[in-house]
Symmetry: C2
Subunit: 419 residues, 2 copies
């Protein structure tokens, strides 16, 4: 291949020349590079993303930039995130086949990954804002969360493999650092990069005045940085999922780290709850039906997660934890143990969920569900419901909440005038 060892960002003009010798790309797009059409399609915050089209098909070329694209070169960010994304994608593909784009080629020096172009998939967040339904969404994502949580943990892996991966992913420092700051810390003080909709000041004052809440959030940060239970995606929101009417795939795992088993599913539920709370600004006629569907996704997602996790517990518990020698071989059912592990996962998940609901309205990187609402008075009213429910979730997370209770709580907050 012609890409040299010195990193250089690709452009629409240079991509074909520079990647002409990448056999895996030619294979998926077409052997004659003169037929390649290159478009920049990136709309994310961090990277360059190109689509290459040719007679054989399409492929995505994703390349890391040495800074945060959203902010510019004043915020440098290491290129090694492509390395971690590559290693995350290969592990996710092995643990939940078909759940992530296929990797065709990885070039560490150029920080680039050539991978499957997903078509006709679009970003799930756009579909949720547009009021579109996605069949099997809860099943795809619940299975993904359960399989990656279980199969990346000491419930499944050998101690050697798991410790090697804990060491590998501990090299990802600056990317998880963004989460540590933007998600867990910035919302709870007057951080430089914060922004919020006008009118939310009283709610923000309530949150920052709630010392017990801030203690709980920091306890969750402690768990996020210390608890290496499994390899988490690390940024599993509705912008990291691409869906058709019937299929969903998970993308963009550069925030990968070893973390708590409840992290991904908690973040995901938060994004569905924010979709729910934002709906009154996006539609009128089918509002109730669509909001009901979104809450149904949450309950089905959690139910699928539990069912798949329990299935793996019974069939793939090959790690050092909760060994059969201590339970089944002595005639003791290990269901009590699985119940305890799941209870801890949900306790973490609902607290992470509440925290994510705060950060998307208060620190950097808001989500389009709310941000697309032009009427800021309405936006503030809906965000206020979301923020106060986030606080309620954080406070109640260790009381044995389940998805039904969370959805009931959402319906209650959905009717409240908070401001």
């Amino acid at each position: 291949m012609t890409t040299g060892p010195t990193y250089e960002p690709l452009s629409v003009d240079t991509l074909t020349r520079r990647l002409a010798d990448v056999a895996a790309l030619a294979e998926h797009v077409g052997p004659d590079t003169k037929t390649w059409q290159v478009e920049e399609i990136g709309d994310g915050n961090l990277n360059l993303v190109f689509r290459v089209t040719g007679p054989n098909g399409q492929a995505v070329v994703k390349q890391a930039l040495p800074y945060v694209r959203l902010v510019g070169d004043s915020w440098p960010l290491p290129l090694y995130r492509a390395f971690f994304e590559y290693h995350a994608l290969t592990r996710q593909a092995a643990r939940d086949p078909g759940s992530v784009p296929k990797v065709y080629h990885f070039d560490e020096a150029q920080a680039l990954i050539v991978m499957e172009f997903l078509a006709p998939h679009v970003i799930l967040r756009r579909k949720l804002i547009a009021g579109e339904y996605v069949d099997t969404l809860a099943e795809c994502l619940g299975t993904f969360c359960a399989r990656t949580a279980f199969r990346g943990s000491a419930l499944s892996m050998t101690r050697e493999d798991r410790k090697a991966d804990v060491a590998l992913f501990a090299g990802n420092v600056e990317i998880p650092a963004i989460t540590e700051a933007l998600v867990f810390t910035d919302p709870y003080y007057d951080a430089e990069l914060n922004s919020h909709t006008a009118g939310l000041q009283p709610v923000i004052a309530t949150l920052r005045g709630d010392v017990a809440l801030k203690v709980k959030v920091q306890q969750l940060l402690q768990r996020f940085v210390s608890n290496t239970e499994t390899m988490v995606h690390g940024d599993l929101h509705s912008g990291s999922i691409m869906s058709t009417e019937t299929d969903s795939r998970v993308i963009d795992p550069e925030f990968v780290q070893y973390g708590p088993m409840g992290f991904d599913i908690g973040m995901l539920c938060a994004n569905f709850l924010m979709a729910y709370f934002s709906q009154p600004a996006h539609r009128q006629d089918d509002l109730t039906a669509y909001q009901d569907w979104v809450l149904g996704v949450i309950t089905d997602l959690c139910q699928t997660f539990e069912a798949e996790f329990r299935h793996l517990w019974q069939t793939e518990r090959t790690g050092i934890l909760y060994p059969a020698a201590v339970f089944e071989d002595q005639g003791h059912d290990s269901t009590l143990a699985c119940d305890a592990v799941l209870a801890d996962i949900w306790r973490d998940a609902w607290a992470f969920c509440g925290i994510e609901m705060h950060r998307r309205c208060l620190s950097l990187a808001h989500n389009a569900d709310f941000e697309d609402i032009a009427d800021t008075t309405l936006r503030a009213a809906l965000e206020a419901r979301n923020l106060m429910m986030g606080a309620a979730l954080i406070h109640a997370a260790d009381t044995g909440l389940d998805a039904q209770a969370v959805c009931a709580m959402a319906r209650e907050f959905n009717g409240k005038d908070i401001l």
Copy 2:
């Protein structure tokens, strides 16, 4: 130096020749190697330990063997443990100066460490069996546990330094694996290497029949392998401490890993409780006074730990967790947060304590406190108290136990006829 790159175990006959060129050894022992006297002094389970004496003084040469010394070459064990011991000793020395032997020299290929000879220190366990008092014991050890817990954690370290150390110590696989098996798993089923005093069968049946207990123990194993809160010593029992009448030092950190902040102090308390329960076999006249002193060590140890931890919280909270921006800078005391962190530490510690009390009577590597009791009927009776209190601790660990309550519980079990 004359030690070559190929590992070879030292012997009393070869040590002087092979280490003649180690300047740091000559400096502490004497420049003329003809004056060196070499003795093998190792009584541990894993390593070769020599004392080298000369006109300038003494030094210890500790060398790892490629197998478990206690069992023989049928149980291979990697030489890299010397590497991890060296890195643990340097970090402990920095975090609690004077708490561990000074390292003079490290040779990775030969898996050997030349270090300070502690005199007139003897192994603490022997002093406890002999009924000797050690002044400042609780203060030395409580300070050591608090400082290493705090200063090795994300409460203190930068994220870069902590993640680098998490990755480094994740390389220590086989040594922590011994703890995972012998401490957390083997006691709770009929493992091959188990042994126990005759007469304990009914107690063992009770423990193994208690499914809720086994679930809790495995949850603690999950925390032990997944929760990388701080760099723990990993094997902090009274055989890993050397004391004079007024000074105590911590040795042998080859079980080092990143683990829960409550692990070391919990293991330590277990060893004092076992010293307590075994005393009726070791003395008569001053039994009550000595047992009272041992329980006093536990309460003082825990009090010192708490006081030092709270002091470091106020003065050295430089990590990313519980930042001043979220608490003090908003006029909010962070004491509630420190209380919550300590509550989690004690919840873990008392459970680890109970588990350690089980393993020392049921799996491999019993402790001399009980093992030295020739009268096996008496031994079984005392061990039964210890085992049942261990179970009570595991069950009650999440109810907010403190050291006073634990000592009261110990006095109660000390009067019980269990068999």
